[in-house]
Amino acid sequence: MLVKAVILIGGNQKGTRFRPLSLDLPKPLFAVAGFPIIQHHIEACVQIPFLKEIIILGYYGVSEMSQFVGEMVQLYKINIRYLQEFEPLGTAGGLYHFRDQIRCGNPDFFFVLNGDVCADFPLIEMLEFHKTHRETQKAIVTLMATEATRQQSLIYGCIIENKENNTLEHYVEKPSTFISTLVNCGVYIFSPEVFHQMANIFNKKQMDFYNVENGSSIEREALYLEKEILMPLAGTGKALVYQTVKWWSQLKTPGAAIYANRHYLNLFRERRPERLAKSVQPTIIGDVYIHATANVHPTAVLGPNVSIGAHATIGYGTRIKESIVLAHSRILDHSLVLYSIIGANSEIGCWTRVEGTPCDPNPDKPFAKMENAPLFNDEGRLNPSITILGNNVTIPSEVIVRNSIVLPHKELTRSYNNEIIL
């Protein structure tokens, strides 16, 4: 048996909702719970038996990704490669373009994981499911699916499942009216036969390109996984639905990073307890990750759900809660950080308060996901959100920065409330 995994990470034109955190760093490399977002994907993948290779697919420059990939190869002792699309090819165009790379070695199956989701990925169970059901169904793909609320389902790919044989009955991407509360998680297992399907669609596009007048407006090489692959497979019995009840969320906004941080830290408690800080001084509350090179004063109180990056300095009598503090940041004495992301190389003065408003899922609704609230409300005012400091931001002593977004390389001189500081 041979299994591969492909992680789709997109490129600079994507992930703009993650700004300002994605301005200086590819979003997939942003550290959540102490580790780059897609390292969590990689960790889930390396658990899969017979997994021989992980391919990271996107259109970030190779130079932006090479160091990370090198580190991952060393750490997990597995083949990991970054393949760069020459231009954005849609959600499946890259897979098709690099089909030979994926097919080489004759894998029996390959996973495809969207880079902008976070989850307790049940990949091994999903593979077992795919293997057992494929025999009877001749399926070439299994989709991971999860329950959402009726109202929130509209922003996802909605799935109708044939409950008798777990096949995909119907699929609609972001429907305008309610279809189903079962939604696509952006995690798939494909059998290599899927490339035949892709080839058919790809070739048809080429025909169109040459036959239709003014065909240059057609995206020749782009392929869309949801619309062009999954939707035609609905009702054919060739697509299976694997439903999970484990934690899953999109990771499109910085607010989601705080939410994902909490959940990944919580998973560490179960599976990688050695990664969580345990100490009396500094005081640790709940799940906290502190990088080995961070310098935390014994009087600090951290947690719950805090990640402290490499070489960060956390001063005397500081308090940090539900926040991500990135590498080389300095939080000076007596300061408080709540529901915030502190960018790399930033500095927060003494007795300063940096505070955001969480945008967690509604705890009173089953299957509720995070509300991806727009940046501005109907009156044109900023919606309260977590506070985000971009890289290399300086906040003076004794001020409060609340529900605000500070772009990189900025030196503030006063307090801010509900503002975007360019």
């Binding site: 005397y316 009598g317 500081t318 308090r319 809660k321 004495d333 007596h334 408080l336 709540l338 003494c350 007795w351 308060r353 505070e355 004794e398 409060i400 609340r402 409330n417």
Partner: protein, 359 residues
């Protein structure tokens, strides 16, 4: 000599503090507001003080009497059955005030300054007329009623909220009168500023004495805090040994000897800390009044606030923008209060990011 202090009503402008204690007993710079005036009057030779109050407050009467007994001052309460304004109380206390032929003082109770009572007496006796009122210079006279007077100090007229500049001197709420003023005053609600002074000015019987140094009406929290800063500046000039010089001292502050201050704090500028107060480690307080037996826990930051008696302010709390905590308020850890007025005995467990009253 004698003095009448116009205490008046419930001091609603200084709520929520005055919900727990009558205004004259609220400590300004660690001393009940009224005692600042009474002690200064004593120095100027006053031995009998009448307090004009329009409500009964047993607590105030017994506490103040205990204080004035120590000083050897006779204290009388003149109770109004209906509010008599600023002139009516003189008529009510006529028997005491006009008993001899000596001039007497009349003071508004909310005023804090370097009280110039001796100088007032000298000035008053020198011009020999019926009344002297203290005037003070303000930056924006258009907000007040201004006093126009000649080089000798004889008042010519009063102009209410002038639209163009006529004077920058306003009535400072401190007067000295001859007993003959009583003929102008009736026992009814009456305004001394509107109904008595203009007549006296017409009769050339009213003079203005210019106050030197600071002056503040501290009847509301914002001015209470500003007044504290001005008062402490004056302490720095006149009596610097009173000021706090312990660890973390910045600028002018008064700290009661029974207060405990932790390590790595920053105290000041312009802070007063009352008896029995506990300031834990790593606290920063500036422009604040912390009243008796309050506790401020570690790493909190307070600017421009009044913390009421027995309050407990948690760790990493931020209080600012004229936040006033009434008596026995508990602020939980990590809370932010911006301009909140918190009524007594509340526990605050959610932040108050915009100014509001918390019932």
């Amino acid at each position: 000599m004698k003095a009448l202090i116009l205490v008046g009503g419930y001091g609603t402008r200084l709520r929520p503090l005055t919900l727990s204690r009558p205004k004259p007993l609220v400590e300004f710079a660690n001393k009940p507001m009224l005692m600042h005036q009474i002690e200064a009057l004593l120095e100027a030779g006053v031995t009998q003080v009448v307090l004009a109050v329009s409500y009964r407050a047993e607590q105030m009467e017994s506490e103040l009497r205990a204080e004035t007994d120590k000083l050897g001052i006779t204290l009388t309460f003149s109770h109004e059955t209906e509010p008599l304004g600023t002139a009516g109380p003189l008529a009510l206390a006529k028997d005491i005030l006009a008993a001899g032929d000596e001039p007497f003082f009349v003071l508004n109770s909310d005023v804090i300054c370097d009280f110039p009572f001796k100088e007032m007496v000298d000035f008053h006796k020198a011009h020999g007329k019926e009344g002297t009122i203290v005037v003070t210079k303000v930056e924006e006279p258009s907000k007040y009623g201004v006093v126009v007077y000649n080089d000798q100090g004889r008042i010519e007229k009063f102009v209410e909220k002038p639209t163009e500049f006529v004077s920058n001197k306003i009535n400072a709420g401190m007067y000295i009168f001859n007993p003959s003023i009583m003929k102008r005053i009736e026992l009814r609600p009456m305004s001394i500023e509107k109904e008595v002074f203009p007549c006296m000015a017409n009769d050339a019987e009213l003079f203005a004495y210019e106050l030197q140094g600071f002056w503040m009406d501290v009847g509301q929290p914002k001015d209470f805090i500003t007044g504290t800063s001005l008062y402490l500046k004056s302490v720095r000039e006149k009596n610097p040994s009173m000021l706090y010089t312990g660890p973390g001292a910045v600028g002018n502050s008064l700290v009661d000897p029974t207060a405990v201050i932790g390590a790595n704090c920053r105290i000041g500028p312009n802070v007063t800390i009352g008896p029995g107060v506990v300031i834990e480690d790593g606290v920063c307080v500036k422009r604040c009044t912390i009243l008796r037996d309050a506790t401020i826990k570690s790493h909190s930051w307070l600017d421009s606030c009044i913390v009421g008696w027995k309050c407990v302010v948690g760790r990493w709390v931020r209080l600012e923008n004229v936040t006033v905590l009434g008596e026995d308020v508990i602020v939980k850890d990590e809370i932010y209060i911006n301009g909140g007025k918190v009524l007594p005995h509340k526990a605050i467990s959610d932040s108050v990011p915009e100014p509001q009253i918390i019932m």
